[in-house]
């Protein structure tokens, strides 16, 4: 299974990963997310069958794989947006499998969506404020006590405006989210996710449908998240993007983890190249394509 020996090049990456072995199911020194035997099938098709996956705290981990590899399904399972057939996973040491999506988010693992979900008929600022946690005014009875939630609302607004400033959406704060461009919606979704103050942020294809100029700025935002100590797990197709910013790459094919490693490990991994470009073996190429 494993191809290269550990401790390859590129000083920074090795440092963050603390010398994790580049092989499927590799053990990390400080994992924030640990998944064990996660399985999900739709009828006869096994979409996800991950034996073990650990995500190192404070890193950018990319999840890649050909179409139909089960990346989005795994994402949905881990974040509580889909029901799992079997499997256990822990986040920051506590079990979160079987928890619904909103509880996973409250635990500090927040996600974005492949098809951006801006709340279109609400203002950009309202979108942001929705991300704030533990709001007294979000309880039905609490809603009537403006004097109680007003103070919290002001504090949240200050934080929301700071984030909008950082994501260069400050001028749009009063606009309806539906009037934003596709790229701006991606930025808004990311900013809104940050509003929940997560420990880990899961980005489902953050670059899809974003123009090249904005890709650079999105990448900058993602790296700055890591530099603030947050963990990022993201699904992406664009190989250049992945190789450029990831500390660690997990490759899925047909629902299984077929390889793990630093970008340089992955680049030279024969199995990955086969999965992506089609193997010489006719049989394998046919099924990897589904």
């Amino acid at each position: 299974m494993s191809s290269d020996e550990m401790g390859s090049s590129a000083g920074v990456e090795v440092d963050r990963m603390a010398g994790a072995v580049p092989e499927p199911g590799s053990v990390k020194s400080d994992p924030i997310l640990v998944a064990d035997r996660v399985r999900r099938s739709f009828g006869g098709l096994t979409a996800v069958d991950v034996r073990r996956l650990e995500v190192q705290r404070g890193t950018i981990t990319a999840l890649i794989g050909p179409n139909g590899a089960g990346k989005s399904t795994l994402f949905n399972l881990l974040t509580g947006f889909d029901r799992v057939d079997q499997g256990d996973w822990t986040f920051q040491g506590s079990k979160i499998n079987g928890k619904p999506g909103h509880k996973v988010a409250r635990a500090g693992m927040v996600r974005t969506f492949q098809l951006t979900k801006a709340l279109t008929r609400m203002s950009v600022l309202d979108n942001m404020l929705l991300g704030a946690q533990d709001q007294f005014g979000e309880r039905m009875a609490g809603a009537f006590l403006r004097s109680v939630w007003g103070r919290q609302e002001r504090a949240n607004t200050v934080r929301a405006l700071e984030l909008l400033e950082r994501f260069k959406l400050i001028d749009k704060r009063e606009d309806m989210a539906g009037s934003l461009s596709g790229g701006q919606r991606k930025l808004l979704e990311m900013a809104r996710a940050l509003m929940t103050d997560p420990a880990m942020i899961m980005l489902d294809e953050p670059m899809a449908g974003v123009n090249p100029a904005l890709v650079q700025s999105l990448l900058g935002h993602i790296t700055s998240l890591r530099d603030e100590g947050k963990t990022v797990l993201f699904v992406e197709h664009d190989m250049d993007v992945i190789m450029g910013i990831s500390d660690w790459i997990v490759v899925l094919a047909q629902g299984q983890v077929i390889a793990e490693g630093t970008p340089s490990d992955i680049r030279s991994n024969k199995q990955v190249i086969d999965a992506y470009l089609g193997a010489q073996d006719v049989d394998e190429a046919g099924s990897a394509d589904e």
């Binding site: 974040t79 947006f81 619904p100 999506g101 909103h102 509880k103 988010a105 409250r106 927040v110 996600r111 974005t112 969506f113 979900k117 801006a118 709340l119 279109t120 008929r121 609400m122 309202d126 404020l129 929705l130 991300g131 946690q133 709001q135 007294f136 005014g137 979000e138 309880r139 039905m140 609490g142 809603a143 009537f144 403006r146 939630w149 609302e153 309806m176 539906g178 009037s179 979704e189 809104r192 996710a193 509003m195 929940t196």
Partner: protein, 329 residues
Amino acid sequence: MDLVSILAESTRSAFGPIAAIYALAAIGLNLHFGYTGLLNFGQVGFMLVGAYGVGISVELFGLPLLVGFGVGLACAFLLALLLGIPTLRLRADYLAITTIAAAEVLRLVYRAGFAEPLTGGVYGLQNLSDGFRSINPFDPGERYGWGALAYNGNHMWVLVVTWGLVAVMCGLVWMLMHSPWGRVIKGIREDEEAVRSLGKNVFAYKMQILVLGGLVGALAGCMLAVYQASIQPDQFKPQVTFFLWVILLLGGAGRVFGPVLGAMAFWFLMNFTDGVLRGLGSMGLLPFLDGPDYGAIQLAFVGLLLVLLIVFRPQGLIGDRKEMLINVK
């Protein structure tokens, strides 16, 4: 044809007790659909349990009216839970199917023979407003108001109380929707997955709003029982729900005063078209129509007006066109 008296009569009904009752029920529907996007096609079911809560408590058990209101609201609470628990986790259409069926099933059960000892079956229940009229500050023998806009003492009392309730509910809706709670609710209307991903328990919010809107609908039913002093199951047909939808769309969904203006405009139009048709008929201009046919033609006429409204003013009377034009998702 006396156009002035038709206009006067239409205006009178726009401010009358029935318009107020429909406004109240439409406020509940506005909470469901206008703010949360829940497709409730059975609002009349909530009105029915409210009305029968009053009817059964007051006529059968001789309980005070206020207890009747309590029973009606409690029934609506239970109904909302029964409807919501199985369907609110599913796609929006399931609630729509379930509510329309449940409301009709309720009507059929309440009118069925086996329920007659309790509900009066097809005959319904009578003598329901004695308690309400005993505290009437208006003199039933006198007329209040100006000219054509005058109501007798009993109707005036229902009118004042119901419009008062409408005002209170508008205030309540305004406060809720201008709070962080209302923000979550509107977020759910836009995209519930996104709201869930931000750590909100979407199911609990939908349940709360289903119960709340249902209670407001039941309150309208209670007032209907009090206003008419009698109730029959067959006045709770599905068309009431669709009148409420028309009212909501006419006034503007997702606006605090949408259902209020909608109810007034709707009952104005209903009476106006009816008056004009009858006027034309009495002048011999509609020789192909008999008396009972007017009702059918009149509904078609109202339908036509609504089509024109949707074409030229899709946001309703006080909706925000800008908001309408934003493409959802």
